[in-house]
């Protein structure tokens, strides 16, 4: 090309520029309900210092957040709240499911604990552990950044194709078997949860 660029100008794609900005300013929404929340706080504190990855700005309003970090078990009374928070977060947004309880329900396989938030809200990254070390959460944030850089687009085109839930269907075969074998309670009406707006 005959026209040379000045030294302080570089060319890139708009997607790449947006991804570069977004991945280095992930603002987390801490949804900390249990001991994973303590590790999340430790991750934000000076020793582990999540600010090195541009994710130190814990916003306690979902309207200002990019990254939902669900740390801890979610009970059925809390799930409508979690779904509402997810819906209130502006695009583009991502979700990290932190710890065994948020991913699968963990040891809390009881009537009131949701068996993995990925059944009801989309999840991008799972962090195993009970609770995970701050290093693991930092690794997840770094991997989240790489994922954003790799797949992100300016207008969120990569989200449109994700029309299926990330988790298993809420009623899997095992659950249906358990329901069949359970002793029925007389006069029990079907549980009608509050609708999410």
């Amino acid at each position: 090309m005959a026209v040379g660029l000045p030294e302080n100008v570089f060319l890139t794609r708009l997607d790449a520029a947006a991804n570069w900005a977004r991945k280095n300013s992930l603002w987390p929404m801490p949804f900390a309900t249990a001991c994973c929340g303590i590790e999340l706080m430790a991750t934000a504190s000076s020793r582990h210092d999540i600010a090195r990855f541009g994710a130190e700005v814990m916003r306690f309003s979902p309207r200002q957040c990019d990254l939902l970090i669900v740390a801890g078990r979610v009970v059925m009374k809390m799930l409508p709240v979690l779904q509402r928070i997810w819906l209130q977060m502006p695009e583009p947004k991502w979700c990290i499911s932190m710890g065994a309880c948020a991913c699968t329900g963990g040891v809390f396989d009881t009537y009131a604990v949701v068996q993995g938030i990925d059944r009801f809200i989309p999840v991008d990254m799972y962090v195993p552990g009970c609770p995970p070390r701050p290093e693991q959460l930092i690794a997840a944030v770094i991997e989240m950044q790489e994922k954003i850089e790799r797949t992100g687009t300016l207008n969120g085109r990569e989200f449109v194709v994700r029309t299926k839930p990330t988790g298993p269907p809420p009623f899997d075969v095992d659950e249906l078997r358990r329901r069949r074998e359970a002793v029925p309670v007389e006069g029990l009406e079907i549980y009608d949860p509050p609708r999410v707006q």
Binding site: Y111, F159, T163, K164, R178, A182, I190
Partner: protein, 163 residues
Amino acid sequence: MVSLAELQAEFGPEIAESAFRDNRRIHVPAEKLYAVLAWLKESRGFDMLVDVTAVDYLEYPGATDRFHVIYLLLNMSSKERLIVKTALNPPELELRSVVPLWKGADWMEREVYDMFGVTFAGHPDLRRILMPEEFTAFPLRKDYPRKGLGERHNFPVITRAES
């Protein structure tokens, strides 16, 4: 020290007593429960209600009644403790509320109602306290399966494309 003889003299011979280690338990029929508790508070100085709880004895070996509702009392001046038990069988799962005697019974009775479905007549605000309002079962009953009846899965699923 409240003796069984004075309880029986006051309320009739169906008041019984049992002991486990250093716990004294007074067994009271449900219709006399409020009177006994009121007498214990007014005349014998049991001014603190430590806890109200219940047990489901379904399929329990040797059990004759389905539910026991248990009141744990404490006399703050003499440090005496007393356990008052009453038996309930469905379908009459109703007791008189003791909130007029001890205000602290409010949330305890709500919890017993939430977990076991025992209702308390005269309670000022008998709502569920732990489970969501829309929940219909009583989860600490023994015939309720440990993993629930699908309530924890009965939520709308949000996919990434629609959020």
